[in-house]
């Protein structure tokens, strides 16, 4: 078996048993969906419909001319009832198109199946991916077609499918690999064809041996695809760590995976790519793990993009306690939500509800210079220096300590015995420097 890992990192309890055994079930289609015009990194979309318009499922309702962007689609058929700023899981209100579901589930015209997708060329495939609005579904939401269009001087040698799912609690990718391994592999093959490479990898943390087995079973005899069982260690699923673990290369500081000839895509993204190409379906739904000790029932739900978070909570039996933290994404990098009207977006991998005790905000003390953060930082940074400088507001000086290479994985803050909010300070410092 192929194995691997990266240096440093940490081991938070994975808590995946809460939902790992739950098969993916279809969530109720909501009576109205909220489709934010920005669900990706890059230029926000412009609305292509007006209030009162009738739209069909799969119809593009927002797009942008910029290259780094991704269109958004109606995920139900019905009537546009509002186009206005709306709460968003990223924390601030963002313009969104609200569609009243007519319940007819009518598909837009021009949905084209390709049972012969093997015969499509790279350009045609890339076009399908772009039109389907596919973005990185692990949470990063970077438009997939952009990743698949590296500048000419960057030679790509392989595509890696990220099935690490290193965030504690989350089990969406795990379930997808168990239940749709064929779609994952076909998605990978399409991605390899677009990238023009003959080598593909699937990296999975070894706390999911059943997923490793499932992926190995469907790739057996195919020497172009290798499945890697990776050591359970956070953040194994971070692109740079994953690449290091599988192909042994270090993405240059400040660089991108393509600088070492690699394209990384998440498991969910691979499935979305396959479904877009094979069935002509744009990205309308995704699997969301609803989990945590604060929710009555944990589930892995296939959810329409635009479904309000409150509906997922209701569908899982509601909250167990009267206070708690609700997080979009995982506990290490996810965003705590202040408003459950926010909808599920393309990058919403999980909805985690912590119980009151887990939700308590840690009181931080002074840095005792224990070095635990330094031993754990996957980027080899000095989080303790970053934290001390940030606390005093010395943001410029933080740059000398490679502030910009911190990708806010939270490993340092997780291990810190003084509970220092290092990520919060790093974010503040970056924002303040960006404003200058």
């Amino acid at each position: 078996m192929n194995t691997g890992t990266f240096e440093r990192g940490t081991h938070p309890p994975d808590n995946k048993a809460l939902s790992a055994a739950k098969s993916i079930t279809e969530a109720k289609v909501p009576s109205r969906v909220i489709i934010p015009l920005s669900q990706h990194i890059g230029a926000p979309c412009q609305a292509k419909v007006a209030v009162g318009d009738l739209v069909k499922k799969g119809q593009i309702i927002g797009s942008a001319d910029a290259f780094v962007s991704s269109p958004v689609h109606a995920t139900v058929s019905g009537k546009v009832v509002a186009i206005a700023p709306f709460p968003h899981t990223m924390g601030r209100d963002i313009p969104a198109i609200v569609i009243e579901n007519d319940g007819k589930e009518e598909w837009a015209e021009g949905i084209k199946e390709h049972s012969d997708w093997g015969s499509l060329d790279a350009a045609a495939l890339r076009d399908i991916v772009k039109t389907a609005g596919i973005v990185g579904m692990g949470g990063a939401t970077f438009p997939t077609h952009v990743k698949l269009s590296p500048p000419k001087e960057k030679k790509i040698d392989c595509v890696i499918i990220n099935g690490a799912e290193c965030e504690p609690y989350l089990t969406a990718d795990h379930r997808v690999m168990l239940e749709e391994p064929g779609a994952v592999v076909n998605g990978l093959k399409i991605l390899m064809k677009i990238a023009g490479v003959s080598k593909g990898y699937i990296g999975i943390e070894d706390n999911k041996p059943d997923a490793v087995a499932a992926m190995e079973a469907v790739t057996k005899g195919d020497s172009s695809i290798d499945v890697y069982s990776l050591k359970v260690k956070y953040p194994q699923g971070a692109e740079k760590m994953l690449i290091k673990a599988i192909v042994g290369k270090e993405v240059p500081a400040g660089g991108l995976p393509m600088d070492v000839g690699v394209i990384v895509q998440n498991v969910g993204t691979a499935v979305a790519v396959y479904e877009a190409v094979r069935y002509g379906r744009p990205l309308l739904e995704r699997v969301v793990s609803v989990t945590g000790r604060g929710i009555n029932e944990t589930k892995n739900l296939k959810v329409r993009i635009g479904t309000p978070l409150s509906q997922l909570v209701a569908e899982c039996g509601g909250f167990k306690f009267d206070t708690g933290k609700v997080i979009a994404g995982g506990p290490m990098m996810g965003m705590a939500q202040s408003n459950l009207d926010s909808p599920v977006i393309k990058g919403t991998s999980g909805l985690l509800v912590l119980d009151p005790e887990e939700s308590e905000i840690a009181v931080h003390g002074p840095c005792i210079r224990c070095g635990r953060c330094i031993d754990a930082c996957p980027m080899g940074l000095q989080p303790q220096m970053l934290s001390v400088l940030a606390e005093k507001g010395f943001y410029e000086e933080m740059k000398e300590y490679d502030l910009m290479n911190c990708f806010e994985c939270g490993t340092c803050a997780y291990v810190c015995p003084a509970k220092r909010p290092i990520v919060q300070w790093v974010k503040l410092a970056k924002m303040s420097l960006a404003r200058k």
């Binding site: 940490t10 938070p12 309890p13 504690p168 993405v251 240059p252 500081a253 400040g254 909570v313 209701a314 509601g318 909250f319 306690f321 009267d322 206070t323 708690g324 933290k325 609700v326 997080i327 506990p331 290490m332 996810g334 705590a336 939500q337 408003n339 459950l340 912590l354 887990e358 939700s359 308590e360 905000i361 840690a362 003390g365 002074p366 005792i368 210079r369 224990c370 070095g371 635990r372 330094i374 930082c377 996957p378 980027m379 080899g380 940074l381 000095q382 303790q384 490679d402 290479n405 939270g410 803050a413 997780y414 291990v415 810190c416 015995p417 003084a418 509970k419 990520v423 919060q424 974010k427």
Partner: protein, 330 residues
Amino acid sequence: MSEDQHKLIVSVSPHVRSDESVQRIMWMVSLALMPAFAASIYYFGIQALIVQLVTIAACVGFEAATQKIVGKPVTITDGSAVLTGLLLGFNLPANIPLYIPVTGSLVAITITKHLFGGLGYNIFNPALIGRAFVLISWPKAMTTWMEPVKSIASMDAVSAATPLNIAKMEGMGKLVEQFGGTSALYSNLFFGSVSGSLGETSALAILLGGIFLLVRGYITWHIPVSFIGTVALVAAVTGGDPVFHLLAGGLMLGAFFMATDYVTGPSTRKAQLVFGAGCGLLTMLIRLKGGYPEGVMFAILIMNCFAPLLDRGMRSKTFGAVVKKKEAAA
């Protein structure tokens, strides 16, 4: 519970934290000192217990008082003052007048720790500064050691020089003779049946605690190994007796419990190796050439000054940094 009655707590990620805390670390290190604490009472009797309890109480008291006076929250439950008290007590002779540990505690806690900003900000190890201060102020009382009594009740102290002192003043031969052979000397040093500071005489007890800290990850091997290794190396190279130098004096205590203090040592592992080696070199320099028979305390204090510098100079490599440099050079 319906979602509109639900109070949502919001904070920045990460939303989970390890269960390690500063408080737990301090109490765990204190726990690791318990074998040596017990050994000190075994060898030096009730007197040892009194000195140590007074020192701990004084440290905790001065911490609370200082924090009250400057209007900061009182943090005595975090265990750090208790730990300082334990370490300071370990560095005193059993038969010392009690105003000395109290003064040492004041210097350790109020001046060395809180004048510099409190836990995390002090440059020097508080217990060691406290000890250095009282050693300089009351040299006689601080170097009047008593022989191990091995009786809880015994109060009549017989004073005796420490093995390091004898070796320095009268030579190794005399020392071996006094103990009736090299192996007897070694075994007395190992178990702690020699005169010296309360907590430092039993290498065995300190090793037990040190191993506990290593196994539980509260310290790493870098400082103890480089510190002790350097001492052994210098002893061997200069024709001394490495085993004697390892077991005598405060080396074990210093290497496992004082030089490893997070706050006053370097935090990067590479810097810790250099730090430990520096401590070892200076210890031997003082032991062999200096005016004091023992050099562990001053060695660590001197190296404390360099800790931030070492950290700065020996940063870990940023992920992907080398690749970038190579490209730039090409």
